[in-house]
């Protein structure tokens, strides 16, 4: 079996006075959709931010494709793409310019740049609004720009943090479709959500966080067990 794309061991993190993560461990592999589940405040976003090197761990370790997040943060960021619920884009740049900017900063070489940007525009069906200023785009279109800028450097690890929370049904379905497609391309897809129903449909394996600790981990079907759905399993796990 190939080594895990993302490997977390005994990770701890305190933000202000809150101990957000209390020694969590997990592994996510290439070619799978890994669900990071839990209610709001469980520590999902903090975990993703530590994986992507935006935050430093207080204790424990995180490795992405063999690179330690503390020792080689730039190497990690080169291999990671993150899509969040915040679909902030530069309003005075066009969709294409937004994507090109992130491609350049991610180290896509000049000779490759336009080809990569065009490829991602085609892949996400963005040609019709590629040269439109981002300030005039709809939420769904902006979300596509946000996805495009996260994948334009073709990262091995893709992380989605509550990506559908601000989107309508159609746009949400496109995002889910994109995650499935990325899994098909051999990427490690980490899907963080509090919507357990979405996770149940998409994820191969899941880890459930509650108050900064792992309360369950394994194949989706295993965690669900004999319960009617993941929600029932989760409620039992947290004793509610």
């Amino acid at each position: 079996m190939s080594p895990a794309a993302v490997k977390i061991e005994r990770l701890e993190k305190t933000l202000g006075k809150n101990k957000v993560l209390r020694g969590i461990s997990l592994e996510a592999n290439s070619g799978e959709i890994f669900g990071l589940l839990g209610p709001n405040g469980a520590g999902k976003t903090t975990t993703l931010r530590i994986i992507s090197t935006l935050l430093a761990p207080d204790a424990g370790s995180v490795e992405v494709l063999g690179f330690d997040t503390r020792a080689a943060p730039e190497e990690v960021r080169r291999r990671v793409g993150v899509v969040t619920a915040d679909i902030g884009v530069y309003p005075r740049l066009s969709a294409r310019e937004n994507i090109r900017y992130f491609a350049e900063l991610s180290g896509v070489l000049d000779g490759e740049l336009e080809r990569r940007v065009d490829a991602v525009l085609t892949r996400l069906d963005m040609a019709s609004f590629a040269n439109q200023r981002a300030e005039s785009l709809s939420s769904g279109q902006k979300q596509k720009v946000a996805i495009a800028r996260a994948i334009v450097h073709d990262p091995e690890v893709l992380m989605f943090d509550e990506p559908t929370s601000n989107l309508d049904v159609l746009a949400s379905r496109e995002i889910r479709g994109f995650m499935v497609e990325s899994r098909g391309r051999g990427k490690c897809v980490i899907f963080s959500t509090h919507v357990l129903h979405d996770a149940e449909r998409l994820c191969d394996r899941i880890t459930i966080l509650h108050e900064g600790s792992v309360v369950a981990t394994g194949l989706t079907a295993e965690v669900r067990g004999a319960h009617r759905d993941l929600e029932d399993a989760f409620l039992e796990l947290v004793d509610k």
Binding site: L15, A56, E75, Y101, A150
Partner: protein, 373 residues
């Protein structure tokens, strides 16, 4: 260093497309000539305006002609002291052996009329005395035992123009370097958080120091453009508008010194405003944080107005902003540069810029930046 260039180009592109920044630069370029036109007209009007003297009694022979020629109009009043309070600019009671003058020092028109009256009376008294001595066969030169011959080392009109420039130009330079890039700086820092683009930007492998430096360079450039536009339009206007009786111009040396100081100030101000913007959650909060900067920066620029002959020792040139004002004033007024003063000023402004840069970098790389957002 590639990331620096990428960020610099992107920031410039955004700034150029931002109406707020462009409007600020355009307004500054238009406003300075307008201010000059107003100053020119007010000073011309003050010089040619006729002021009224309310008088009582008998005017000495010939004095009325002299007063009239000096722009002082005579008007008979019953009580000169009462009239001087509001009705006329100056009250004069011509008594048989003396002249009583009444004026209100809080009124500028009264001060100007008083100065003119003193000049006319001085000339009148001297002429009368000389005539009396001549009639008695005495040389009137006796009244002036030490004749004075004045040799101005430069044109008094040019000196007056330089004095005006030495106040006005540092003031515009500092305000424009600060305000020209302020909107862009806040947009590039607080705006990134407000638009929720900051996290994505920091997720790129580009080193944060390079990202920040790219932003600072773009903002510095736009600050310089704003300052040059305002000062350029002012100097252009000065070639067309007579000010204080002459056309004022900036010497090449002063222009070079000004550009050098503008570059140094722009670097510091850009770092400082970026640091303040990084502390803010949104553009509006950033504006609130930056407001005190106006007072902090304008105060040293104004010192020249209150203490025009302020001649500090070298230690004063360590004080940022004040040092730039002093060096620029010397370059304009004397058309020369005291090199030790310029060296200390340069070192001080570079040190200030570095402190601001490290502060901005520290703020830009702290975890709270993302956690708070």
């Amino acid at each position: 260093m590639k990331a620096l260039g990428i960020v610099f180009r992107k920031e410039l592109r955004e700034i150029v497309r931002d109406r707020r920044t462009l409007m600020a630069i355009a307004l500054a370029a238009l406003a300075t000539p307008l201010v000059l036109i107003v100053i020119s007209q007010v000073s011309t009007k003050t010089a040619t305006q006729t002021y009224t003297i309310g008088y009582s009694g008998q005017i000495p022979t010939g004095l009325d002609i002299l007063l009239s020629a000096t722009g002082l109009k005579l008007e008979v009043v019953a009580d000169p002291a009462a009239a001087a309070k509001q009705q006329v600019d100056l009250g004069v009671a011509f008594l048989p052996a003396e002249i009583d003058e009444y004026y209100d020092p809080t009124r500028q028109s009264a001060q100007i009329a008083d100065t003119r009256l003193q000049t006319v009376l001085g000339q009148y008294n001297a002429a009368k005395a000389a005539s009396a001595l001549q009639q008695k066969g005495i040389d009137p030169g006796l009244l002036n035992p030490l004749p004075q011959k004045i040799h101005p080392l430069s044109s008094p009109a040019k000196a007056a123009g330089n004095a005006f420039l030495s106040f006005f130009l540092p003031y515009i330079l500092i305000t424009m370097v600060l305000t020209g890039g302020l909107s862009a700086a806040l947009d590039s820092s607080a705006g990134e958080r407000e638009r929720k683009t900051l996290e994505s930007l920091l997720l790129t492998p580009a080193p944060r120091s390079r990202i920040l430096l790219g932003k600072i360079l773009a903002i510095s450039l736009i600050s310089l453009v704003a300052a040059v536009a305002a000062i350029g339009s002012m100097l252009l206007a000065l070639t067309q508008i007579p000010l204080l009786g002459s056309r004022v111009s900036l010497s090449p040396l002063a222009a070079v010194v000004m550009v050098w100081l503008a570059i140094l100030l722009a670097g510091s101000f850009s770092s400082l405003t970026l640091a303040l913007g990084t502390l803010a959650k949104n553009f509006r909060q950033g504006q609130a944080y930056a407001t005190p900067l106006y007072f902090i920066t304008i105060f040293p620029a104004s010192i020249i107005l209150f203490i025009p002959d302020f001649n500090p020792n070298l230690a004063y040139y360590l004080i940022p902003i004040l040092n730039a004002v002093l060096v620029l004033r010397d370059a304009i007024v004397h058309d020369s540069v005291a090199w030790p003063a310029l060296a200390v000023t340069t070192a001080s402004l570079i040190a200030t810029g570095l402190i601001c840069w490290f502060t901005a970098l520290r703020l830009f790389t702290r975890e709270a930046l993302l956690v708070r957002s």
